[in-house]
Structure formats: structure tokens, C-alpha cells
């Protein structure tokens, strides 16, 4: 059936302006890889050049940003003007995916971690803020049974609780970000541990005494 191939190309044209440009430049090179009838080819060729495709792509990108903004708002804020170029790279390597919240959050978080570890992205706060938001998302979207099965090194803790390590005082850091303000210059540096607790259904967090944190983490 040609309809599935037609829809596949239609979708890929929206997700990638490069793909659309390739189709405009050399349609047969794209069509050769698909089972399309002559009418589907004429349709796709005409649609590729339609000015409305730019609107489709803009809406596609806005809707792909939404789950990231919902789950990683502080990270997106900290990325600031760097976010656009990072999203271009992320979307290029992940052109279309399941956009459900936990999956998309984890995928983008993995991408940012890779950027940090490779040194392409340098920022004093993003690593710990990203870990915090990722933990909040997991606690929100996974059941206690699922979290218990993946608790790893934090097996001593209840399934809906995480202890996160910060290198900056997390309370003023998160307070500033919650008001969409840059972290204060005077943030204390050191080893801080934040308990993130979702047992009530709401995610709440509090700073732990170092002795308590060490006992909880078994270190």
C-alpha cells in the first residue's frame, strides 16, 4: 500500500527541513526507497514546496519543545541562548520519536549529559539541575514498583525517594530557578545532599545533614 509510504515521507518532511530540501532537489532519489504510486509522488512533490510546510515544521518543533519545557524547565532556562543550537542537534539525531513525557525527557537528558561529558557544553550548574529534574520526572511518571526495581545504589531508600548530590547549595539555586532567575553569584560550593520525596503524590525536597545523607546512602 502506498499510503503508509506517503505518510512516512510527509512526516519526515515536517520533522527535517534537510529531508524536505533533498526531496525538492531530487525527488526520485527519495521516492526510489519507497513503494509509492504516481499520484503519491505528485502529491509529495507539490507539498514539499508548499509554504505551509514551514508552518508544519514550526508547530512540530514547538510541540517537541513542550515536553522538554514541562519536565526540564530549569535546565532549559540555564541553557538560555544555547538551547536553540542544542535542540537543532538533538532533533537532527532524533528526528521523530515517541513524545510521551518520560521517554522524551530521558532521551534529551541523556543527550545533554553526553554534551557535558564531551566538553561541548560547559556549565557549572546544568549537570546537577538536570539530575534533579530527571529524578523528579521519574518519581512522577513511574510507579513505586518500577522505581524499586531500578533503584540501584539507593536501594536503602523508599522507592519514591531519591537523594541527589549537588556541588552548589541547592536551596538558593532551585529557588532562583523557580523564579526564572539566574543562580546568585554567592552560591556556596561544597557537597550538598537533597532528598527528593514523592511519596505523598507531590514532589517535595529538603536539604539533608551530611551525616544523615551518608547513612541513607550507606557511604
Amino acid at each position: 500500500m502506498a499510503l503508509d509510504a506517503f505518510q512516512d515521507i510527509f512526516c519526515r518532511m515536517i520533522a527535517s527541513a534537510d529531508y524536505r530540501a533533498r526531496l525538492i532537489d531530487n525527488p526520485e532519489a527519495v521516492f526510489d526507497q519507497h513503494d509509492l504510486d504516481a499520484r503519491e509522488k505528485r502529491r509529495l512533490t507539490a507539498m514539499a514546496s508548499h509554504s505551509g510546510m514551514r508552518v508544519n515544521t514550526a508547530i512540530h518543533r514547538a510541540n517537541r519543545l513542550t515536553p522538554l519545557d514541562q519536565t526540564l524547565p530549569f535546565t532549559c532556562f540555564l541553557l538560555g541562548s544555547r538551547l536553540g543550537a542544542l535542540l537543532d542537534r538533538y532533533w537532527h539525531s532524533n528526528p521523530t520519536e515517541n513524545l510521551q513525557l518520560p521517554a522524551e525527557c530521558v532521551r534529551f537528558a541523556d543527550f545533554i549529559v553526553d554534551e557535558l561529558q564531551s566538553g561541548r557544553l560547559v556549565d557549572p550548574y546544568i549537570g546537577e539541575v538536570l539530575a534533579f529534574e530527571r529524578a523528579c520526572t521519574e518519581l512522577r511518571f513511574f510507579s513505586a514498583e518500577e522505581l524499586a526495581s531500578r533503584s540501584g545504589t539507593q536501594a536503602r531508600l523508599p522507592a519514591k525517594v531519591r537523594v541527589l548530590h549537588f556541588q552548589h547549595d541547592p536551596e538558593p539555586l532551585l529557588a532562583a530557578l523557580s523564579e526564572l532567575k539566574s543562580p546568585p553569584d554567592s552560591l556556596a560550593e561544597g557537597d550538598f545532599h537533597l532528598a527528593v520525596d514523592a511519596r505523598s503524590g507531590e514532589v517535595v525536597f529538603r536539604l539533608l545533614d551530611p551525616v544523615v545523607a551518608a547513612a541513607l546512602l550507606g557511604s
Partner: protein
């Protein structure tokens, strides 16, 4: 087929609305909910696949005690040639058993596809998502495809099913039928009804020059059960269905015309995006609902 009861004027629920619902219950007659926003869908291989968001079902059940409820899903992707998600249908059925929807609706469109088209026949695999509701070609082949799926949905979920006319930004050439003809024939063969989104129609009119009057003349208004009202804004030289703020003025005129002519309309729903709440505020939402009610009461 559809309830004799006229529901009246309602709201599409969004996260900005809980306070409005509590403080202005007299302003709306029913609540329409998007079930896909009330759960996390971890994919067809997730176990459990659907995880209800904390407190969401409690909220819906409390709301259902006060008002009738409609279900308007966005995740079915009924027009996808290579995917039909019976798991999504089952989840809607489960929610219907909890909340007793007067009817269920989705969009005449597609948004989900298999990542690997060649492997699609081997069963559910990784999907890709268009992140936008895309039009299907109005062809006989697509009519047959969607007819079968509507029949399946109607057999599984024990309430009427409506499909919403779609908005599009890049027209599909050489279609075998007009949108109105496609919807008329689909209703005749499958037994579904129409959710007529007047703003979608206005958007298509603005962007593609189609005649709203001709569409309303050609569509069989006996199949229209519900109407959606919304507003939009400009993007890259197009007018979009962004649900930004109040209802677009020409949509109000169409509502008057449609309610006058359509014999079976049971509900008129105002939808806005939660990001527009600071623009509308409580008074603005109430004003939109009151204006819809004045028109409703003239004809219904």
C-alpha cells in the same frame, strides 16, 4: 444513535482551569477532557503501558459528580496507515467505564507512524510522532481504512464516537473527495458523528481560501453532534489553530449560522490553550461561555 439530551455549553479542560471550574460552575454545562493528558503512555511495550498521573483520576471523578463529561482524545491517530492502536482504544474504554462519557471523539488525521516502515508488519515497534495533527488524503482507500477503525471503536467503547474535521497548512493535491463529502460518506457507512470545529474551518478558509459557507452547505449537518470554538494567531504568514485567547470573531458568526441549520447538535465547547489564561482570566472565559450560551439559546 446519540443522546436526546442537549448538553449545552461546555469547556475543554486544561491545567489552568481548576479554579474557574470551582468558582464559576454556573457558566458551563459540561466538561470535555483530553484523556491523553491525564496519563503517561510509556509505549505499546510498557508494563503497565498507561500510568495515570497522580490525582488526575480523582479530579475527573469529582468533576464527573457535578457535570456531564465528554472525552476528546488526541492520541488515536486513526488515519495512520501502518498503525492502529487497539491499546489506546481499550484505555479509553476503561476511562469511559469510570466516567460515563456522553460520547468520545478524536481527530480525522494521523500523527503516529512506525519508525521502520519495512518492519511494521511484524508487530508493534518503535514509533515516530509527527508532533502535529496531519491531514489524511480524502480518498476512497482512506475512507475504507477509517470506516473499519470507526466500526472497531464503536464496538469496543459503548458510547457514540465523533470525528473532528481537521486543520491543515499544506494542502494534499488530487484528492478524490472534498472534506465535506468524505465526512458525509464516512458518517453514512461507519455510524460515527461529526465534531465540527468551526475554528479549524476558519483556519482553512483563511489559509487556503476555501469557502466556509460552501463547506457548511455541503456537509450533512444532521451528522454534527458537537461544535468546537477557539481562537488562533499568526505564524510565518499563516493563521494557525493555536487556541490563543478568545474565539475568532468570524467563528461566532458561523456558530449562529450552524446552530440555526443543524438539527442534532448537542453541545458547543470552548477550547483555549492554558498559556492564554493570563490573557483571558476568569472574566474572559466566562464572557466567551456567556456569548456562546446566548447564541445557543436563540436556536436550541
Amino acid at each position: 444513535m446519540f443522546s436526546e439530551q442537549k448538553l449545552g455549553i461546555g469547556l475543554l479542560f486544561n491545567p489552568a482551569l481548576p479554579q474557574f471550574l470551582e468558582t464559576r460552575p454556573e457558566s458551563f454545562d459540561y466538561l470535555e477532557v483530553i484523556p491523553d493528558r491525564e496519563w503517561a503512555d510509556r509505549g505499546v511495550h510498557g508494563s503497565p503501558r498507561f500510568l495515570l498521573l497522580e490525582q488526575s483520576l480523582e479530579f475527573l471523578e469529582r468533576s464527573r459528580e457535578q457535570k456531564p463529561m465528554l472525552c476528546h482524545s488526541i492520541g488515536l491517530s486513526i488515519g495512520s496507515a501502518a498503525i492502529f492502536d487497539s491499546g489506546h482504544v481499550e484505555q479509553i474504554r476503561w476511562l469511559h467505564q469510570k466516567l460515563d462519557f456522553a460520547w468520545h471523539s478524536d481527530h480525522l488525521s494521523f500523527s503516529r507512524l512506525p519508525q521502520d516502515l519495512a518492519a511494521a508488519g511484524a508487530g508493534p515497534g518503535p514509533e515516530m510522532h509527527a508532533a502535529i495533527s496531519l491531514p489524511v488524503p480524502y480518498d476512497q482507500e482512506v475512507l475504507q481504512l477509517i470506516d473499519e477503525r470507526v466500526r472497531y471503536i464503536r464496538a469496543v467503547i459503548d458510547c457514540p464516537f465523533l470525528l473532528e474535521n481537521n486543520v491543515y497548512y499544506a494542502a494534499i493535491p488530487e484528492e478524490e473527495m472534498s472534506e465535506a463529502e468524505f465526512l458525509n460518506r464516512l458518517c453514512q457507512v461507519s455510524g460515527c458523528g461529526i465534531l465540527l470545529d468551526l475554528h479549524n474551518l476558519y483556519v482553512n478558509s483563511r489559509n487556503h481560501g476555501i469557502s466556509m459557507e460552501a463547506f457548511l452547505r455541503d456537509i450533512d449537518l444532521r451528522h454534527v453532534v458537537e461544535i468546537h470554538l477557539a481562537g488562533g494567531d499568526e505564524l510565518l504568514g499563516f493563521y494557525t489553530d493555536s487556541h490563543a485567547g478568545p474565539v475568532a470573531e468570524p467563528v461566532w458568526e458561523m456558530l449562529d449560522e450552524t446552530l440555526r441549520a443543524a438539527p442534532w447538535i448537542r453541545a458547543v465547547t470552548f477550547e483555549f490553550h492554558e498559556s492564554s489564561y493570563p490573557l483571558l482570566k476568569t472574566a474572559g472565559i466566562a464572557a466567551q461561555l456567556a456569548r456562546a450560551r446566548r447564541i445557543w439559546e436563540r436556536h436550541c
